[in-house]
């Protein structure tokens, strides 16, 4: 019988692999930003799954705290990526091609 934490860990690895695959192969920025986010979620999921200490013990709080920080960083980075992409699009409309 598969343990719950193993299931989550494996799911995380699958998500991370999908994200990595897409970030390398996709050319569109928006898709690559999404792919990076999926890759990130995969890594976070693996990290969270390692905190599980069995049904009777409390989970290890450290990975939770770290993943929370990681999510904040990921949100900030995604915002920056989207802002840059918007700038790129609006300057294309202006016809400024330097």
């Amino acid at each position: 019988m598969l343990e719950t934490s193993t299931l989550y860990g494996l799911l995380g690895i699958v998500l991370a692999s999908l994200g990595l695959h897409a970030v390398i192969l996709q050319t569109d920025t928006l898709r690559r930003v999404l792919a990076i986010n999926i890759l990130g979620v995969g890594v976070f999921l693996v990290f969270i799954a390692t905190a599980y200490n069995g049904p009777d013990a409390a989970p290890d709080p450290v990975p939770h705290a770290l993943v929370l920080t990681g999510i904040v960083v990921a949100v900030a980075a995604t915002a920056l990526a989207l802002a840059l992409r918007r700038r790129l699009e609006s300057s294309a409309e202006d016809g400024d091609d330097e």
Binding site: A16, L20, V23, T29, R32, V33, I36, L39, G40, V43, V46, F47, T50, V62, P63, L66, T69, G70, V73, A76, A77, L80, A81, L84, R85, R87, L88, S91, A92, D96, D97, E98
Partner: protein
């Protein structure tokens, strides 16, 4: 015990907030913060030189809970490099960003980048390193896009995505290490590390992620566009300091955390990639048509020498030679830091004066900008590794260690790399000399020309003639 370490991070951080809050006074706040944090770095440096190292747990928490800061000789040297280069770049930037709007955008990000760099050099904990890596990456990307031109924004976007990919690789490695060894403290992980598949996967993920950020060949594809499209002071910081941060972490992880788990094949692979970087980067620099692109490709090549040094570190036995190679790596990193920032600042002056940085049309630059041309020549001397530059001694020791180890390929590659570097430097100087009339004064844009000159002089004279203290200290501390 002392607050020097916390201050080196806190001062630029508060400076960044203050510069963002009072955009009208951002230049004054910026220069003041850089000076103050430079003073804190000097204080810390003298502490490390007298006590050997410094260690501090922030906020009065106990070990394991507190954020731990640790400064050894390597960290202190990198902090000093950062402080000196940052001072020169900041003086330059006060004149480069003339409009208040540009200045108000530059200073908060620049100070944030400095806070992240200082934090990275001092962090003793794997997760805090991840946080500083991300802060460094985000501020570097924003600075790259500062000019608002399409090419710059496109380069910044790619830089951001590559940086995020690298950080996530690093973070996945941290997760594996924490699961396996139950701690994030670098020293404790290093003591507990076992040679098992999990450690090896962590090693590959973390090293791979950092190599992407450090732009080791063939993961350098994002660097030339990002470094050559950023404004001159930013290019100087990116090439001299930011890529060094990635190398610093690889060096730290390999020597302190994974030392037991590194296989000779792994070290060999890094060395071969370093060799490829030297040849490819130098060749591309020789072919470049624009000065900034030349300088960026030269960074790709110079990073190669650092990784060749890393390989030698793992193929030479502990003892005299080990310190020699470690000292050589530090000297190469320092020299490149000063020389490349000098080169980018000087190129910025040429670009502002001539309106372009096309190498073939530099005719007469030496007459119009004598001091800046001299700075380019000084930086070039250090990049080639001619005496008396610091890189001369660094390369000398790397070459003699390669000969001792029987690594003839490295000797060949480093010699070819130096010849190619001579070719691309003299190509620039050849075009810069022409028949135009001399300017009446050698220095025409004082606040922008002096910083480049000072950095070039440090790289060629100070580090070459006065670098004995590096080895003296390594011998004492070992």
């Amino acid at each position: 015990m002392n607050e020097a370490m916390a201050l080196t991070i806190a001062l630029p951080l508060f400076g960044a907030l203050a510069a963002a809050a009072w955009p009208g006074r951002s230049s004054v706040i910026g220069i003041l913060s850089v000076l103050l944090s430079g003073a804190a770095v000097t204080w810390l440096f003298t502490l490390v030189m007298t006590h050997g190292e410094a260690y501090q747990l922030l906020g009065g928490w106990q070990a394991g809970l507190a954020i731990a800061l640790h400064a050894d000789f390597l960290a202190a040297v990198m902090l000093l490099l950062t402080a000196l280069v940052a001072l020169a770049i900041s003086v330059y930037a006060t004149c480069y960003f003339r409009s208040p709007r540009d200045a108000a955008r530059f200073w908060p990000l620049w100070l944030l980048l400095l806070a992240a760099l200082n934090g990275l050099f001092l962090s003793a904990d794997l997760f805090n390193l991840y946080v500083t890596l991300e802060l460094l990456g985000l501020s570097a990307v924003a600075l790259t896009a500062l000019s608002g031109k399409r090419a710059a924004i496109r380069a910044a976007l790619r830089y951001l995505l590559v940086g995020l990919l690298g950080s996530l690789g690093y973070l996945a490695g941290v997760a594996i290490l924490y699961t396996g060894f139950g701690t994030l403290d670098m020293q404790q992980v290093g003591e507990r590390i076992a040679v098992d598949p999990a450690s090896e996967i962590a090693l590959i993920l973390m090293t791979g992620g950092l190599l992407l950020k450090t732009a080791l060949f063939p993961l350098h594809f994002w660097l030339p566009a990002a470094h050559s499209n950023a404004p001159a002071p930013v290019s100087a910081a990116l090439s001299a300091l930011v890529v060094k941060a990635g190398f610093y972490l690889v060096l730290r992880l390999w020597t302190e955390v994974f030392a037991e788990a590194i296989s000779p094949q792994g070290a060999m692979l890094i060395g071969l990639l370093g060799c490829a970087a030297i040849i490819w980067g130098s060749w591309q620099a020789l072919k470049a048509e624009r000065l900034k692109l030349l300088a960026a490709y030269s960074t790709v090549a110079q990073l190669g020498y650092l990784f060749v040094g890393l390989m030698l570190l793992f193929t030479t036995p502990m003892g005299q030679d080990y310190e020699l190679v470690l000292g050589a790596i530090m000297l190469m990193a320092l020299t490149h830091g000063f020389a490349k920032s000098s080169l980018f600042l000087a190129i910025g002056v040429v670009q502002q004066r001539a309106g372009h940085d096309r190498i073939a049309e530099l005719d007469g630059t030496s007459q119009r900008l004598p001091a800046t041309t001299f700075a380019i020549a000084l930086a070039g001397t250090a990049l080639i590794g001619l005496p008396p530059s610091g890189a001369f001694l660094g390369k000398w020791h790397l070459l003699s260690a390669s000969i001792d180890a029987g690594q003839w390929l490295l000797v060949l590659v480093m010699s070819i790399g130096s010849l190619l570097a001579a070719a691309y430097v003299f190509r620039v100087l050849g075009h810069a000399f022409g028949n135009a009339a001399f300017a009446s004064r050698p220095v025409n844009m004082a606040l922008q020309e002096w910083p480049a000159l000072a950095l070039g002089l440090v790289a060629t004279l100070l580090l070459g003639l006065g670098s004995h203290w590096i080895w003296a200290f390594l011998e004492i501390s070992s």
